[in-house]
Amino acid sequence: MAVKVIIPTPLRVYAAKNDSADISAQTVGEALGKLTVQFGDLRRHLFTDDGKLRSFVNVYLNDEDIRYMAKEATPVKDGDVVSIVPSIAGGGAASLETARA
């Protein structure tokens, strides 16, 4: 199944600046796994060391949160869009540098 994975702005730097990737997979988890094979630097931002999806990274299949479907085992079909939606906190009042401080 050919799906499009949308890479959000904060993670594009780890994905050779791509805003999306076309991937062939049967499930959401497989699509994300292949994405991190293609872009190795993305892996630690999406998965913990033991391979679990990080809790602050939300993944949507089309407009539905996969936590309320079959999570990473959620099956995909041709033309589906998988979105990675990380938390962002900016308000334009400061740089991320100070936001981290």
Binding site: T9, I88, A89, G90, G92, A93, A94, A99, A101
Partner: protein, 394 residues
């Protein structure tokens, strides 16, 4: 469905407008969707803005102009030159003034008929509930995770709507939390990202118009909430990509296991949000990394002496264009695969803008076997302060 907000019983509701106000709000009054009834709802509304920065600027301007009767402005920060690129409430003459007060002055001149309260304080677990109690709607325009979780939890504890907006570079998120039966921020993101995994300062920055757009959407949602009209963003996360000029919408569900708003709530009071977000003690540059340092003055003296030093600039190419110390550019992110380009027999001084990224670089290189390596303490910022003020700070 949007839920109507309640006005407070301890103050009599305003039941009329002066002729001057009727003229001012004429373009609202002639719209049946607002009319006199809606304008009086606006006049009786009490909205608290958390943050008067990028998001707070359009929020404050539009809500004051629209005639929201009572506006609260919370900000502990002071206006600086780097704010002016996007925080359009402020003028050049406001630099150095407290933001909450500068914003109050600007909004008062825009609309003298409304009540504006400035709170020059850092929102914290000790003052949030008292501050929020005096208002019907809370609008989150802050810039950091601890405050966002604090605003969320305080809103849930008090049962107040939280008009949420956040931005990053050229991407924005907007939704409405804290509505009856609607999700809260913790339903969307149960935990904040650990500080180390937040994209580094190299990827910081924000396109100036973006907070204008996202803050304006928050202002629109606030006004709809007050009027009780239209379809609100409850249960919908609006994503905006300014570069692609695309709006997308995702479903936001209430998490039945949410520790804050779920059936078995485990959080019953405000907590320490800095600890929760793991940012306690992160103030010092790379506090967990101990690396040898050289001060800008020491470096200057050694360069003047003719010492053979290899200056390694670990910033990004676009930063190098702003200013540089004529060092060799090798961005931190590329260091692991380009480490072979460096000569470990030479003495290296690594630097970045503030000294944080270069501390990481020095730590990495030391682990890779480099021994003669120092971090320029305070980076280019300190170099500009202590050695060469002609180098611009950014």
């Amino acid at each position: 469905m949007a839920t109507k907000t309640q006005t407070f019983s301890d103050q009599p509701a305003v039941t009329g407008l002066s002729n001057q106000e009727i003229l001012r709000y004429s373009r609202h009054l002639i719209m049946p969707e607002v009319g006199m009834e809606g304008q009086l709802k606006l006049k009786n509304a009490k909205v608290l803005l958390i943050g008067t920065g990028g998001l707070g600027a359009p929020l404050g301007l539009y809500l004051a102009a629209a005639g929201v009767g009572k506006l609260g402005l919370v900000d502990f920060d002071v206006v600086d030159f780097t704010n002016l690129q996007r925080q359009v409430t402020f003028g050049t003459g406001d630099v150095g003034k407290p933001k909450s007060e500068a914003a109050r002055a600007r909004l008062s001149s825009l609309n003298p008929d409304i009540e504006i309260h400035s709170f020059e304080t850092q929102l914290n677990s000790g003052n949030a509930l008292d501050l929020f109690r005096g208002f019907d709607i809370i609008v989150d325009g802050t810039d950091n995770f601890p405050t966002r979780y604090l605003v969320n939890d305080a809103c849930i504890l008090l049962g107040k709507p939280n008009v949420y907006g956040s931005i990053f570079r050229f991407e924005g998120q907007v939704t409405l939390f804290g509505m009856p039966d609607g999700p809260c921020y913790r339903c969307l993101y149960p935990e904040p990202p650990p500080p180390g995994l937040v994209p580094s300062c190299a990827e910081g920055g924000v396109l100036g118009v973006l907070p204008g757009i996202v803050g304006s959407i928050q202002a629109m949602e606030t006004i709809k909430l007050i009027l009780g009209s239209g379809d609100s963003l409850v249960g919908r996360l609006l994503l905006f990509d300014a570069l692609g000029m695309k709006f997308r919408e995702l479903k936001l569900r209430k998490n039945p296991d949410c520790p804050m708003c779920g059936q078995n709530r485990t959080i019953h009071q405000l907590i320490d949000y800095y600890e929760f977000c793991g940012v306690r003690g992160e103030e010092a540059p790379a506090s967990n990394v101990e690396v040898p340092e050289i001060t800008p003055r020491e470096l200057k003296a050694r360069l003047d002496r003719g010492d053979d030093l290899y200056i390694l600039d670990v910033r990004e190419p676009h930063e190098y264009q702003i200013c540089n110390l004529r060092g060799h550019l090798l961005p931190l992110g590329e260091l692991p695969r380009r480490v072979h380009e460096l000569d470990s027999s030479r003495e290296i001084v690594a630097h970045c803008r503030s000294g944080k990224r270069s501390a990481e670089a020095v730590d990495f290189l030391r682990k890779a076997g480099f021994r003669k390596i120092h971090n320029l303490k305070g980076g280019i910022l300190a170099w500009s302060d202590e050695v060469d003020p002609s180098v611009p700070k950014y």
